[in-house]
């Protein structure tokens, strides 16, 4: 169990890093010479504000969306870890911890997809 959780966390981080490095390299190659302006918050206008938008953009090959998709993979890593823990408690028929882990998982999915 511990071995599997450890492996999952490691795989998630490595996979996310590879996607982010790939997207970041493309991003700098294409937009590196543009001016950086982050002192004013314009986040509400960003098109990459959902898991679906990041994935759709990444499939199209948009560098910003590829980075964002890598970041989504990273955010999903602890969520997957909780899901795996839930499966482990379910296998042990540990009702109390099934309930607690399910609650944490629901809260995480609520944050990610609401």
């Amino acid at each position: 169990m511990e071995q599997v959780i450890g492996r999952l966390l490691q795989t998630g981080v490595v996979l996310a890093s590879i996607v982010v490095i790939l997207g970041g390299t493309l991003l700098l190659a294409r937009h590196g010479a543009e001016a950086s302006a982050f002192s004013v918050f314009r986040g509400d206008a960003s098109p990459l504000r959902s898991v679906r938008a990041a994935l759709a953009g990444a499939v199209r090959g948009d560098p910003r969306a590829i980075v964002q998709f890598g970041l989504v993979l990273l955010i999903a890593t602890p969520v997957a870890r909780v899901a795996l823990t839930l499966a482990a408690f379910a296998a042990q028929r540990d009702r109390l911890y099934i309930a607690m882990t399910a609650l944490v998982l629901i809260l995480l999915l609520f944050g990610l997809f609401s």
Binding site: V13, I21, L28, E34, F38, L71, T77, L108, G111
Partner: protein, 278 residues
Amino acid sequence: MSLALFALLVAAGSFGAGLLGAVTGLGGGIVVVPMLTVLFHVDIRYAIGASLVSVIATSSGAASAYVREGYTNVRIGIFLEVATTVGALVGAALANVVPTSALAILFGLVLLYSAYRSLRGDSATADVPPPDPLGERLRLNGSYPEAPGRIPYVVHRVRLGFGVMLFAGILSALLGIGSGVVKVLAMDRAMRLPFKVSTTTSNFMIGVTAAASAGVYLHRGYIDPSIAFPVMLGVLAGAVLGARLLAAADAVWLRRIFTAVVCVLAVEMLYKGLTRGV
């Protein structure tokens, strides 16, 4: 400044933050937000989004090693994650109504407290509270590896630990930090867990706590790929190298340097917050 230069400088700064954070055990996340806002004039919301992402990367990376060594108490982790994830969602909701200048002031205070804790070191008091029967009922008690066998331990003051964790979750979401300082406070001081168990279990939980608010912030546009990618890669690379250096480095001096940096950033954040410069 061009985006390429910006990314390079931010990555370098984040690398230093991750390195010192890993070597001193304070975590790099705590200096990323002040670095981005004070040095690079990045809006604090973008800084919080980028920092949370880097917190997930480093905690998951480190936790993967600790879990396999058998120090992490998964039951305690899940039990307290109920508190930290609820706290994180509350914090993310609060972030909508709290003015950014107040966030900067709160950040300055947390930085000062972290510096104080880091300098004061561990001075656990002698009076140990009685074991909490709730710990028995929730089956939180465990054991950790220590040659030649495993050392058993019991948990204390479960409710207090849970309450402090709720606060840790709120703080993590509001400021974009791992709030490892508060988590270890809850597990070391309140619940009296052995040091190795509390630090590794705290690390195990930090990623989940940060993921709860990072999900919400993704929808609010706090996570901008152009800022988040150099921060994430820089902090992660720094933390990986820092963990390797841990045995060789002179931790006392590094801790002093890092604490000094934290103090300077604390003053800057307080100044920015009080003059409404954020």
